[in-house]
Symmetry: C2
């Protein structure tokens, strides 16, 4: 079972809103799905090229005077079908592979202080992510399509509940990990006590 390239679905999903350049796709991805999905230029450009060969997208070059030319990609009917087929199919789960947990598992071989540092770090990272996600959430709740071009208000309004769910995932995810960090730190302090007694 050959693992399918998922970058293409993220790209097609973006192009399904409106035609864009590879650069746009990267920027918009970062600000919309960036909290749970990452893409690099080094992957976006080659995939766009391939998808054009396969007839999933078309491309238009826009010469911007002296500015560098923009290659604007548009999703085709075939591309939209391909995208929708994927969308209805079952998602592959990301398998957990956390280096922190691997180190923690072997925790007996180093000083508890180092473990504590790791957990504090992780907890702080989660806090930063949570703060970030709360801002996105607030933004999604307050802004009801004010600054959008008129014909796209419908599309964007219809997407918002789903976008919120992904943000909600992130919030619970990082809150959960932070709580675990705190609980583990508490456990560690018990171990320390036990050793000193």
């Amino acid at each position: 079972m050959a693992r399918t390239n998922k970058t293409q679905y993220a790209i097609l999903g973006m192009l399904n809103y409106q035609p864009m350049s590879g650069y746009d796709i990267k920027k918009i991805s970062d600000h919309s799905i960036g909290h749970f999905w990452n893409e690099n230029y080094g992957n976006i450009y080659p995939v766009l090229k391939r998808m054009m060969r396969e007839g999933l997208v078309t491309m238009d070059i826009q010469q911007g005077g002296s500015a560098p030319p923009r290659k604007v990609y548009t999703i085709t009917a075939k591309g939209r079908q391909f995208f929708l087929d994927w969308l209805a199919g079952s998602p592959e789960r990301q398998i957990l592979r956390e280096e922190l947990l691997l180190q923690l598992f072997f925790g007996q071989w180093i000083s508890p202080n180092i473990i504590e540092d790791k957990l504090h770090n992780e907890s702080a990272f989660c806090s930063a992510m949570i703060k970030n996600l709360q801002q996105i959430k607030a933004h999604l709740e307050e802004d009801h399509g004010k600054n959008l071009p008129e014909q796209s208000v419908g599309t964007f309004a219809a997407g918002r509940p789903y976008w919120k769910m992904t943000v909600e995932f992130g919030l619970r995810y990082y809150q959960g990990i932070r709580e675990w960090c705190d609980a583990s730190l508490h456990e560690l302090s018990q171990i320390d006590k036990g050793e000193k007694r």
Copy 2:
């Protein structure tokens, strides 16, 4: 910054308990760190080979009569140092890349029923994982080194609190996702109502 091979640390961590074959490493990994870390034979064997060249491990061939020969690997002083250095260093975080969330983000383009199915599936998967982890947890709590060879009781007893923390992580992780599924399903039912009115 070249991403470091992490398989080697998992392997060294196992060999740090006792000498083992590649086959043993796979089996023991599956049953100890398997809930947050996966390794394949196709990776373990080549990495062992490389680590032997680098002097991180040594190898002994044990001929088991007519049985296939076992290649038993032992960690060296150099290997142990390498392992401990990694253990004290800061872990790389796994970046989130959840196909379910990507599909959910684009949820407006398919029927809410399909989304509901996806969420139910995910919830069921989490339940299965939780059940599994609760058994591991119970096992870790009841068994206090009864069936272990005497000289290793100390090592294994000292590891247990850390092993429990990784199990606790898994429990909270899957419980968190399951709660999110339920909350999202509830939200979806609200959207449905709104559309029908």
